[in-house]
Symmetry: C2
Subunit: 398 residues, 2 copies
């Protein structure tokens, strides 16, 4: 009998997208649904990125270099310099989104059965990439009470085994918005050096830091051999659909091994690389506007949430997500119920149950992830819905 | 100590690209190098594909559906109908090149340690995808004497074990150009049904059939549950750099399992999907021109090769590659030597040693793959170089 592979069966469905059918049903009933479940911003992609594609005069859209166009990689060196990261173009590999960069890193550094430690809650698709690569995710819990700060290093040390090969950090964090401090990054560096671990640093939200200092793992001394930086233009320039990312490492063996996986898939997307190259030439103040917009959204959202009785939401330092604790019995049930059985002025809101962002079963049952990717007017209306919903939800707990 | 993973070490470098440094050195010396080593055509990408992107008025380049834009998938249904393939849009998954379609298929259908049978010589990157997925490639040799026809089915049966889960066929074939007949496809169907094997059919070169009838695996009765069709616009519209492919299957379990891997990486490239959709509207006679061009190139190349003393080159029925047997001691040495130590009128030619296309060690030592991706004038000049090179190559064998 034809069978699906074990990893095909074990592969988790996306927790961000699994409630989509309920949202679609609601929309068919004429209900307006605010999508705060997914990190798809409403911010316009800069016109200059499209213009660059329109003004390119390509006769044959050829395979690029498997590491991406050299011209783009050389321009990225300038971009990185501006954010205090000193790398050369041959330490940068252009990938199909940050997703592919993670896959290449896993393939090159981890054997099937190896373990990677990730503070939870974490970006849910790490589970998917780990499943595809046969790698085991070992979660270390961070807590809403501390604003999802880095757990004590002793917690990491407790779970390190001979199979542990890497840790993954995302800062500013998806889904918590937490911004790791220099001190926390240094502690993680010491850990990686002590136990010979690779350090995967996912910095997709680098430009969106509101409070405190932004610290790239590339700013941390003594981490070079360990560090695999994961990057993407998706959020930075609101160009999620371009599918353009990068893997950056100063470890030449890792780079060379990743390069073989890159060669097998031939090249990253061509037109997206033109967009990426144009993005480097955006005016220096480009991020001021988007950052100010997200900051004001964050402040609105956190204020609205904490005003609701029984709701707790720490104010995150970066990215465009919050994890909020709600007075509910079960976030999966609640997020389905609010789409299926609730409306307020013919509107409702789609949230992501936090359970999908935890590796430890049972955690996240009272939490949801909310992405502040819609304008303030929509956010306000969405929070009106949530406030009303919490009043009448049958599974309310206090 | 930080170590590269076993698969990172075992992962093969691309046999098509490994001689690139020698070509670059030759070019720096002012030598003109004809690139017949790689399937990168000089045929122009249809302007209509770029125009569609230029005329799209996108404000936010959002993630698409993980299976690709529904509008594109619905249009692909029409394309497939024209080539006699009856599928619905929800049996089509848009991928980042054919490469990603193969990866998804491997992940969903094969466990690490499982075996996949492939007639050799075969597309070298199958090795890479198999290595990434932990799958073992079991080659079955086809021979230049029969024009690389399908080996006897008994040869397949000899190597089938409890670990064998799939076969892969590419027709028209890369690297041999062989076009599988209806009878051969039926035999493979019977084999897959008898032994419960998945049938991966890579049809990247569908439009380029010159002699004999084109047979898609989708034309074969009774294969639906077994079949995973791998497709791409790379060669069809000379849009290799777009990175746009598709996985097509009528096996819903396989589709759903692949979908989970597709969701983890979020979506295929956005602008490329606009190109792909525009391609469906190209005039009905679009392929006549490119096909006629490749046909005349094939005829020229095969004639020139067979005129060279000691050279044997079967006339392939499709794609744009030939495997030629040369009177040489070692194709790896020869392909390096012709770049490093030979010129004719300040020109030379880059070929791909066939060794990289065989899974059985030692095979392909007297063969090279030649891609007829350059215009006839260039092909003629490249063949002048090859003819002269064979006269003076120190390792000539007869």
């Amino acid at each position: 009998m034809l069978t699906i592979s074990s990893r095909g069966i074990e592969m988790p469905a996306s927790p961000i997208r699994k409630l989509v059918p309920f949202a679609e049903t609601a929309k068919k009933k004429g209900i307006k649904v605010y999508h705060l479940n997914i990190g798809q911003p409403d911010v316009e992609t800069p016109a200059a990125l499209f213009d660059a594609v329109k003004n390119s005069h390509i006769k044959v859209l050829e395979y690029s270099h498997s590491a991406g166009n050299e011209s783009y990689r050389r321009k990225l060196v300038q971009y990185y310099k501006k954010v205090g990261i000193d790398v050369s173009y041959d330490q940068i590999m252009i990938t199909t989104g940050g997703s592919e960069a993670i896959m290449f890193g896993f393939f090159a550094c981890l054997n099937p059965g190896d373990e990677v430690i990730i503070p939870e809650p974490f970006y849910a698709n790490y589970n998917g990439f780990a499943c595809a690569a046969g790698v085991k995710v070992v979660p270390i819990t961070s807590y809403i009470e501390t604003g999802f700060a880095l757990p004590a290093i002793e917690e990491f040390e407790k779970v390190i085994t001979s199979k542990t090969k890497a840790i993954i950090i995302c800062s500013p964090n998806n889904p918590t918005g937490y911004l790791y401090s220099k001190d926390e990054m240094n502690k993680l560096r010491d850990l990686c050096v002590k136990y010979d671990l690779y350090f995967f640093s996912d910095e997709a939200y680098r430009e969106f830091c509101y409070d405190g200092e932004y610290v790239s793992a590339m700013h941390v001394d003594g981490l070079d051999k360990h560090l695999i930086l994961i990057d993407t233009i998706s959020k930075r320039y609101s160009a999620c659909g371009a599918r353009l990312g990068a893997l950056v490492t100063k470890n030449k063996e890792v780079y060379d091994a990743c390069m073989k996986f890159a060669q097998a898939r031939l090249s990253p997307p061509g037109l997206a690389q033109i967009m990426g190259e144009a993005a480097i030439d955006l005016p220096a103040d480009y991020f001021d506007g988007t950052k100010a917009e997200y900051l004001s959204r964050r402040d609105l959202l956190v204020k609205r949430l904490n005003e609701m009785p029984g709701v707790v939401c720490p104010k995150p330092g970066g990215a465009f997500y919050v994890i909020a604790k709600l007075p509910i019995d079960d976030s999966d049930k609640f997020c389905q119920w609010i789409l299926e059985s609730f409306t307020y002025k013919d509107q409702t809101v789609m949230l992501a149950p936090a359970t999908g962002f935890y590796g430890t079963p049972g955690l996240g049952k009272h939490e949801v992830r909310i992405a502040y990717v819609l304008n303030k007017e929509s956010l306000d209306l969405a929070m009106d819905c949530l406030a009303e919903a919490l009043k009448v939800y049958p599974g309310r707990t206090n």
